[in-house]
Symmetry: C2
Subunit: 298 residues, 2 copies
Amino acid sequence: MSRLDEYLDRQRQQINAALGEVFPEDPAHPHRLIEAVRYGLLDGGKRLRPILVLAACEAAGGAASDAMPAACALEMIHAYSLIHDDLPAMDDDALRRGRPTTHIAFGEDVAILAGDALLTEAFALLARAALQRSDPRRMLAAMAEIAAAAGAHGMVGGQAADLAAEGQAVDLATVEYIHVRKTGALLLAAVRSGAQLGGADATTLQRLTRYGECVGLAFQIADDILDAEGETAQTGKAVGRDQALHKATFPAVLGMPAAKARLRELREQALQALAPLPQAADPLRDLVHFVVARAVGG
Amino acid sequence: MSRLDEYLDRQRQQINAALGEVFPEDPAHPHRLIEAVRYGLLDGGKRLRPILVLAACEAAGGAASDAMPAACALEMIHAYSLIHDDLPAMDDDALRRGRPTTHIAFGEDVAILAGDALLTEAFALLARAALQRSDPRRMLAAMAEIAAAAGAHGMVGGQAADLAAEGQAVDLATVEYIHVRKTGALLLAAVRSGAQLGGADATTLQRLTRYGECVGLAFQIADDILDAEGETAQTGKAVGRDQALHKATFPAVLGMPAAKARLRELREQALQALAPLPQAADPLRDLVHFVVARAVGG
């Protein structure tokens, strides 16, 4: 097992344990809403966002445990966005991570509410964590960062723009506009909130922000490439959906070779931003390799 | 114009102005998501929740302006819940406040996202407001209160239980369980967060909590009575929907005369909880009269 695999495994276990505690099972009083929340949140997922939170916190000199509430909140927000994006009125997806999507398994009404519950409880968790600190300001700054990235001018705004662009002829600027908001904003908020919770100084925060911007865009280009080239077994979801829905993607506007070149370029830029940072930033270095290698190999 | 009407008018104007600023119009770049958010949030509504926040803050000795961010957040959360509740997969309502519901006017996808945006931006607003305070703890406590009331064990949990109970034979305990969560939790959080932001001591907070519990339940019983007896012109929504959907309601399980008696009883209990409080609590006194009188007269 490689150094990165070991790191990812260890972090995933801690994140999954923490997420399970946010929504504990109650076999005595089974509750369909909580079952749906657990279905959408647990069992699966790369946990890239929360791992970025923890790794950025450590890169900035903090302890990963300081950032665990923000890590969980980011993953809960990500999970809610997947549940809502999969709904029939949105992307109408029946398969996610190799399993039926939440609305297929629990019904559309319960899926909408499960998403709403995940989003709300993410902020409840952050507020409770902030109240427990002697100085709640770092956690509050992380919360403001996360909420802005998830909101009308971030993720939700990007999803709205994506739906509006479906079936339209779009240019590179539009594709970047959509992706920066729909996927990039939350990945950037993961890195920035982790850095803030780790006590990053202004220069380090600036470097990690640049890293987060590159990784956010790289992740989406890699995802577009995988959707066009990958196999369901590898991606856990139906392949070629973007093309079938005439979605705005990088390979579609750039062509496949240029999309792959852009992806490698973003990897270099991300590594360059981290260059002056100490060994504690190695997991962040490994992570950008991981994100890019999924789509173009090592 | 009565003292209460003047008070409500003045507060509504300030709340509407503050809400409009959270989502400003941008005629140069019209944005369907923001239009849908403004459609669901502005133009209409009693603004009962934010008015309760401001009135409870003043009753506790604070200035209303201290509580305005929490007031706006509560109304944004209320507006999101209406947009999502009206969706075809949920209550499937086409009419709200005498106008087409958001998904009728903007499409189901935009309506889901508008609700998501309102919920997210409510917490963004609270986090920004807390960061601006020299001591953010009161605002954080209000935020934790509001998030818990809106979440899986509050409003969203109540809506899930309500949907699960549709068409089932339900008893009084089940109806109370649903309503305490679905409507009561957010009304209680309005009163409690306002009281906390106003600097209420433990005894005052306890009294206002009792008041908030009574008003929360009274509001729902009044709503049930209006749905069964009112007219569309008065309620702004289709009448008799609860019965058509076999919804759990107080008149259905208690009978109409007992439901009205319970409503009057809750008004007395609410006024009793406020008895030792000074004149600054008069708007809260007027508000419980207002809530009850809608359904059973003065």
